[in-house]
Amino acid sequence: MNKFNKESFFREIAGSHKGIFYKVARTYCAGSPGEQEDLIQEILLQVWKSIDKYNDSYALSTWLYRISINTAISYYRKHSRISQANVRVESESGYGGTPPDNSEQERISLLMKFISELGEVDKAIMLLYLEEKTHAEMSAILGFSVSNIGTRIGRIKEKLKIRFLESEK
């Protein structure tokens, strides 16, 4: 791929899939817009560096999810300050679509907090599950078997339900 093609391909795929970068950053750096921005920048850099390796045997979104999640986990490993402690119940991020009402906002913040408490791989599973990816798509992105993903989702959902129940007490 020549330089001009690479640049235009990068702009095209990054521009049309920015939702993926945003959602991954939101999942892995919940509660810290500054870190989300840093992570998105790192993901974009990795997409740029990997662009020559792209082949169309996988859907573009699968390829971008792989890069984004791999980068997010590596980012987590490198930056010791990122932790669930960064996530506060009251929303402070100031991003999102239509602003929900206060109690809804609080529940969204709780959901983000509970997701941030999951392990790094479980976060990825939950993100893809909430994005309504099929088990086969999740398997292609994560590299686990379809049946394993099904079991794992069940456990994570159970964990989240328990955390919501605890928070209501």
């Binding site: 921005e37 390796k53 679509g97 959901l111 994005e131 992105i141």
Partner: protein, 223 residues
């Protein structure tokens, strides 16, 4: 809370607003203009500084020792030369291990499925512990480098007793740490004390990720 409620909550904030969209567009432009970074970008300045010091230490040490051998082979202090050679050799080995792991980590293909890529990165990351273990082996030579002819000729038995005790203690500590500073002991207090600095956080997290991936694989194999 029901499954649909969770999905609805997620959906309520799942799209970036116009401010975030503009920011991401700016970042895309920045990246396209910036092009790719270099391999050392992921290394913190402190690590680069430590590596530069290690390179100077090894180069200077080799220069000094070779000068003794080449220009003054009769008068060179044997124990200093032996101790310094061992110490510099171990630093060199640790430096090479550390560099090799960093190069291998930078070569991992992050377009691979997450489990495979993260397992490879985390295994490489945790193996950087080997360079720390190798460095602990130098402990005893810090108690021998000043031995010289005057000491050998004039010291009393009790002075040797104290000296040898220290040397043996340092050797035992170095060997013990070399063999015990490993994954299986990561929850022990002494391990947390030695590896408690933020510098070792990435290593600890790499182990957590490895456990999570292995846990997933075991779940699959167990059915």
């Amino acid at each position: 809370m029901k499954e649909n409620d969770i999905k609805r909550l997620w959906g309520a904030e799942s799209e970036p607003d116009s401010g975030i969209t503009k920011k991401i567009n700016d970042l895309i432009e920045d990246t396209a203009k910036l092009k790719a970074g270099h391999e050392l970008e992921s290394m913190r300045p402190m690590k680069i500084f430590a590596m530069i010091i290690a390179v100077f230490w090894v180069t200077g040490g080799i220069y000094l020792i070779s000068n003794y051998f080449v220009f003054d082979p009769v008068k060179f202090p044997l124990m200093f030369t032996v101790s310094a050679s061992v110490q510099i050799g171990l630093v060199l080995i640790a430096l090479l291990i550390y560099l090799r792991q960093h190069i291998l980590i930078s070569q991992v293909d992050i377009t691979e499925p997450v489990a495979a890529a993260q397992q490879r990165i985390s295994e490489l990351k945790t193996s950087t512990l080997l360079s720390a273990r190798v460095l602990f082996l130098q402990l005893p030579v810090w108690t021998t480098f000043y031995w010289n002819n005057t000491i050998f000729e004039n010291w009393e038995w009790y002075q040797w007793f104290i000296q040898i005790t220290f040397t043996l203690l340092f050797a035992a500590a170095g060997l013990w740490l070399f063999f015990n500073l490993k994954y299986e002991n990561r929850d022990k207090k002494w391990f947390r004390f030695i590896m408690g600095g933020s510098e070792w956080d990435p290593l600890m997290k790499a182990w957590d990720i490895l456990e999570e991936i292995k846990d997933n694989n075991l779940n699959a194999a167990g059915r």
